[in-house]
Symmetry: C2
DNA sequence: CGAAAAACATACTCATCGGTATGTTTCTGT
DNA sequence: ACAGAAACATACCGATGAGTATGTTTTTCG
């Protein structure tokens, strides 16, 4: 009769996290109340505060998991064999796919730590905040390094590395504003869309003369 | 003695608008209080509410002016002579420049009408909201049409027009997250940065074989 | 000048929301 | 079975902030 133990035990925190990510995406951090997050779970405040000490902690955890998704997707691409262009292409494709697959969490990541710049956070939260900022920087650095490597080996056009990295990533990350998953969406359809997104960035729109 | 009339009369609304745009950019719409907007002007609530009926109206007006800046910059580019690629390049450059020049207002535009989706707005505000949404759509349509024209005349690579437009615009608009004007910035330095942003989008990063 | 209107400032109201304190139920280990 | 802890629900507190009502000053105009 272990069947009566309906509720999965360890997933409760993840449920709260998912609910929070959904709410933060739809209404934004400040417009979301803890009651909103609880109500989406068919629950009340008590449950949320049993697992998370504050709204800030909840946001930071969504942000942290969102960044983890991005790194998890990027890591295999970093190990792709080939020249700079080949690796960069794999990285962009992996990133685009991750943005679509986890667009709820990534929407929250985009809101960023900036929403807490003016909050009087605890030292502990300040540390978490700094970790998240560092995490973002390290992510972008992966792209900058690979772009530079591609320019050096002649497989990429010489450009301003920093600006190019921001523009490329921005082009993919902007999808949080227009992509809304449909019921018919599958991992494969998202992957196809990701390829359409990456194509103009790699080859450019301008047809070579 | 018209000199005693120190205060410019018609600029008061614009001052409030500028202050609101700054606050909305820095802290976000919901985290900004009307007192914040007033305090930045060395003033109080009374002044703001004398010119604007509600916080929502204030936000919508910032959004409206922000879109106007974008259209004003885009219009001349639309009239550029040349093939699809030439026109698109001019459009992207104009847009990138406008994003940097008015990055305060455009940051607010990016927050979008979405922040009011859950507000019980008045019919009047609902109309304004719809106008802003339409305005955004028309803006993107300009790019989609020009990209299609470029593909038709062979000057642009064939791609998914809708996705490409969103990716290109996203690459430029993402600058609201990383661009912060320096005291040494001039119209010329911003223009140079805009060119660096547009270059990888037009020619692509991948060096042609 | 003088009266009306515009342009504010000040002082309130009231709803919302983060957080807490305190119950009540459910599980867990012995 | 039963103590204790975990997992919640409920009721409350205090601060914040949008909006308003009512002053007070300044400008405008006849």
């Amino acid at each position: 009769m272990t069947d009566t133990a309906r509720k999965p035990r360890r997933n409760r925190k993840a449920e709260i996290l998912d609910s929070a990510a959904q709410c933060f995406m739809e209404r934004g951090y400040h417009a979301t109340s803890i009651d909103d997050v609880a109500q989406r779970l068919g629950s009340t405040k008590g449950r949320v505060y049993h697992y998370y000490g504050s709204k800030t902690d909840l946001f930071f955890d969504v942000h942290r998991v969102g960044m983890q998704y991005l790194f998890d997707a990027l890591d295999p691409a970093l190990a792709t064999p080939g020249n700079g262009a080949t690796v960069l292409h794999a990285m962009l494709l992996a990133h685009a796919t991750a943005m679509l697959d986890h667009h709820t969490y990534e929407s929250v990541v985009a809101q960023g730590v900036q929403v807490h710049r003016f909050n009087a956070t605890t030292p502990d939260q300040r540390q978490t905040m700094q970790d998240l900022i560092d995490s973002r920087d390290r992510f972008e650095d992966h792209f900058k390094r690979r772009i530079q490597a591609g320019i050096d080996d002649g497989s990429l056009h010489p450009t301003d590395v920093s600006v190019t990295a921001k523009v490329l990533l921005g082009g993919l990350q902007w999808s949080i504003f227009w992509y809304r998953p449909r019921a018919s969406d599958t991992a494969e359809t998202r992957r196809r869309l990701a390829r359409k997104m990456v194509a103009p960035l790699m080859q450019g729109v301008h047809a070579a003369p």
